[in-house]
Amino acid sequence: MDVFLTLVIGGIGDGALYFLIAAGLTLIFGLLQVINFAHGGLYLWGAYMATFLYAVTHQFWLALIVGAGAGAVLGIAMERGLLGRLYHHGTNQILITMGVMLILSEFVKVPFGVNGLNAPTPSFLSHSWLVGHVVLVEYQWFTIVVGAMVYLVLHWLLRRTRLGMVIRAGVENAGLVEACGIPIRNVFTVVFALGAALAGFAGALAGPYFGSVTPGMGLDMQLTAFIIVVIGGMGSVQGALVGSLLVGVVTSFMSFYFPSLSVLVTVLVMAVVLLVRPQGLFGEARAAA
């Protein structure tokens, strides 16, 4: 039972982190119809910038903000500089974003080296408690709370604000949004920047969560986040949440009992979901038009 609880909590913690990345990825896909294979690269750079800044200044909150900012800046540059020319060119987008992913992953080695950096947990978040035989790690709980807050803010944004209504409408029919006199092109940039900022922010959180940052962390996270988005349904933030928790908890159990199978099982979950519900758990079946 104690092991069970520990694994569940660990899985939810991982899931909270996954959610931050998957939410941006799914929003970007839903509205812009772009599968951003560079999303993990934004996460990577957020992680490195935050870790570097924390090492220099020891300002944790500032490091989080800078991580998010690094993601947003890279995201805006990508959307305005590259993707803006390639809307409705599916194959080119995939190639371009994959290329950006490789560049971002390699380039991080130039200033920071190939071996990764230590990412210490700030002292005020590094407590842990033993309740019965269950270990409660403060930073893990912090991540879970942050993930939940981000979900609530996104939910509020999408359901209650004008921007949210425009985004939801744009997911369904971007051309009609434009015919309604709404500058959809700027909304695209805002959404891409938002998703990119979330990825950078997740990177900044992930450093202390895993204890280090490495050049390969972006690619690993990219794969996981992509699987989550497919499971949850492309374009659905709720789906991203459920998918993240599902993948987080399943991976947590598998890596405890059958470590060698953990990636396989995640992909298996995806395959089953695709077989039973091809549009994902919360996805809308799209009309072919």
Binding site: C180, G181, I182
Partner: protein, 256 residues
Amino acid sequence: MSSESVALQAENISVSYGPVHVLKHVSLRLMVGECVSLIGPNGAGKTTLMGALSGGVPVTGGRVLLNGQDVTAWRAEKRARAGIGRSFQTTHLFPTLTTLENVYLAVQAREGTNAWDYLRRVRKRLLDEAESRLEQVQLTAHRDKPSGTLSHGDKRKLEVAMLLALKPNVLLLDEPTAGMAVSEVPGMLQLIDALKAQRAYAMVLVEHKMDVVMQLSDRIVVLHQGQVLAEGEPDEMMHNADVAQAYLGGRHETRA
């Protein structure tokens, strides 16, 4: 003909996709209060011309003037705010959004467009305006239903409500009766006729049903292979030999 009364003018519009010339130097002048129908066989370039006027299709040559102002470089969204309202050939709605939200989206387009405006909550005043638009087309009963669940006729009514919510002075109607049941067509015609009677809108109508065209148009422009083949009053067009040759396949047709 004073220049104030010209609502929309297309000068020498050309549209090409690579080597394919879809429109070749098409000019069109639309007066306030006038209804002009575009007719022509499939592939003549009617919908492309509508796109060029609304800003959805980039032109490779020529100019579009709205109330005398050159809007050729404007994106569709900016032209919509300036008064060009466009409906689409196939039903264009946001199916999972409610009927009211659909209209709200069109109503709020005239509000500010800076980032801060977008982060504000959905506003009561605009919701009220959206509600009254729904009332106009008798869809109040369906306000909280996802628009995707409406009947086809109601969907097209909702599209009209959204179009009018933009407060346009130019209406581009691309086959407003397409896909409608025969029993639903008269309702739509009445709606368009009522709009026309207000004399406030300049309308371009693309339509295949010739009885609709004859009933609503002040002028007919015949497009053929991307060029204006002929233009004139409805009766005149129906008796034009070139038009009969190109559009009606050589068959001389008169109104029933």
